[in-house]
Amino acid sequence: MSLKEKMVSSFLAFELDTNINSPVHDIRSESIKDFEKIGFPGKKNEYWKYTPINKVLNDKLTVFKKKRHLIEFEKVKDFFVNGIESYKIVFIDGAYDPLWSNTTHKGVDICILSAILENKKYEGLINKYYNTITDKNESFSLLNSSFSKEGAFVHIPKNMELDKPIEIIHINSGGESSLMLQPRSLIILEKNSKAQILESHYSLVGENNKSPYSYPGFIDPLTNTLTEIHVEENANLDYYKIQNDLETTSLIDNTYINQKRDSEVSCHTFSFGGNIVRNNLNFYQNGENINSIMKGITILGGNQHTDHHTLVHHANPNCESYQEYKGIYNDNSTGVFNGRVLVDKIAQKINAFQQNNNLLVGEKSSVNTKPQLEIFADDVKCSHGCTIGQLDDSALFYLKTRGISEKEAKGLLTYAFANNVLENVKMQALKTKIKKIIANKIGVNLGFEL
């Protein structure tokens, strides 16, 4: 049986264990039908051209988890941002972990999706927002919608500035072979509200950088996550993603963001590892005076691969979008950046900026970068640029003449290359954490405070 057939037939078993009276169950049934029609992306699929996703679509993958894995706090404490108070929603192998979570329903909902889907009180919200902006022609979004059951739910009411950041943490225990996880999150910011959210994906590390329970023939988890974000008028969201998985685990991350008038959303994606990581980050601007910001730092090594597919749909006039992605590729690692900017005919006075800079450190590393501008309005400012290169020899020499060793000079220049993407990270503790991860990845011991 192919993986596609297996997924489709799994749905029946999934239904047995699921409340089919839930308001979203029709969506699930529709989605699996649609998925059955289109299946997984084929080899000729342009959208997947440079990312060999089939490599990780193993026939043995299953959406059913056999057991629960307990993890000691010691092993995961670094997955949290240290030194800050935060709301926390923690999942281990896709299942909610109440022990390390810190959720709330007091004036604001920061909790798990499963609880909401079963609760009549939230039916209105679900009907209004759930699965309204996902791409109904995208295989992995459909698959996620079919099996969606658990994930984060955040609802920030009107005029509220959330008092502390939210951490949504997905941990792979690696305790079970062949798992395909389908986390599903729904985030709603009502009018004039403001929030900061960090979503991170980590795996437990055992010996040789493998899953701690790995054995010959072990198939590492594939996470197919989908996050839907609705940002109402004049609301402001800072969203951060940390993808710091094992070299063997893979992640498909579909994020859909719908923005209303006068809102601002910035999304930083820090991709520091994974076997294959695919980001589909989609922004829809539904109103005037909207600002959408996408920034990313990718640092890979070994045989890792990361793909950033971004889309900004400028459907209204007087809006802005800003994209800045930097990639550092060591060893044999590979990357993709595909930035699609779609400007409708009525969307005049748009300012869309896009920049992708890459540093190929490894001799066998490579990157494919492509701006994809589809502009139907005539009074717009769209700029894009990309670079692919090595460290500048004259800069390296300059540093060395000041007594800095070759290794450290390279590290420093690499760090400097990525550094400015962090400028707009408002959460200081997070910035420090990211800088540490970067310094660590690059292997440089920075001689100054971060």
Partner: protein, 244 residues
């Protein structure tokens, strides 16, 4: 301090220095002048350890050690400093963080312990004051968007921080306005001592009014064509290079 004997240097198969000799003792200031393209920057790059250049013949001794096989960073660790004719812009590293890293790298290489943060801060403040550098300037990215003069002043700031035994200043005066020239020259004079040495590469006499050289050399066609005292610089200013 520095003993260069019959130095021949090529780049991409083209010979640029053709038998240059130079002897600099501790406490001395040497000025090197010479027409464009005569090899002045080549000489400073080679002393600093730029591996793009090939030394085909001759030797460079620094503190009685042949430095041929030393990398640029090892030379810097031993106290050689070059102020670049064209300082490189490095976005993403602030001047402060850069100089901290440089100082601690040198200390570490010499087997000494890192400088305490408050000591570092004080030193940075003192040297910046000496060169009349605004503190805002120190938190900007290294040389990025600096004016020509600002870059040169920043080079001398680094020199003041690193306290080298041998400093080679490649056209540090070009790009400086009259006030800046005086400030930078005063700075250099303060750094100067009987135990260090300075080689100044310049096209103009005016810097030598502020920093008085013990010797003036003319580098022409890859060799020292003439040496003299500070009067030679005045003569060159007047007559050009043709008469040599």
């Amino acid at each position: 301090m520095l003993e260069i004997k019959d130095l021949h240097v090529s780049i991409d198969g083209k010979e640029i220095l053709k038998g240059l000799s130079l002897n600099v003792k501790p406490g001395e200031i040497h000025a090197i002048m010479g027409p464009n393209g005569s090899g002045k920057s080549t000489l400073s790059s080679v002393i600093a350890g730029n591996e793009d250049y090939e030394v085909t013949k001759g030797s460079i001794f620094y503190k009685n050690e042949n430095i041929e096989d030393l990398s640029a960073e090892e030379r810097a660790n031993r106290g050689i400093f070059m102020s670049f004719q064209y300082p490189v812009e490095i976005p993403g590293i602030t001047v402060t963080n850069f100089i901290k890293t440089a100082i601690n790298s040198n200390l570490k290489a010499r087997g000494e312990k890192e400088m305490a943060a408050n000591e570092m801060l004080k030193k940075i403040r003192d040297k910046a004051n000496m060169l009349e550098i605004d503190s805002k300037f120190l938190s900007r990215s290294l040389n990025e968007g600096f004016s020509g003069g600002e870059k040169k002043r920043n080079e001398i700031f680094q020199m003041a921080m690193l306290e080298p035994s041998l400093a080679i200043l490649d056209e540090t005066d070009s790009g400086l306005d009259i006030d800046a020239l005086r400030i930078v020259a005063n700075g250099v004079n303060k750094i100067k001592s009987s135990s260090n040495a300075i080689v100044i590469i310049t096209h103009y006499q005016r810097l030598l009014d502020h920093i008085i050289p013990d010797y003036v050399h003319v580098l022409q066609d890859g060799k020292i064509a003439k040496s003299g005292n500070k009067e030679l610089a005045l003569e060159l200013e007047e007559k050009g290079y043709d008469w040599i």
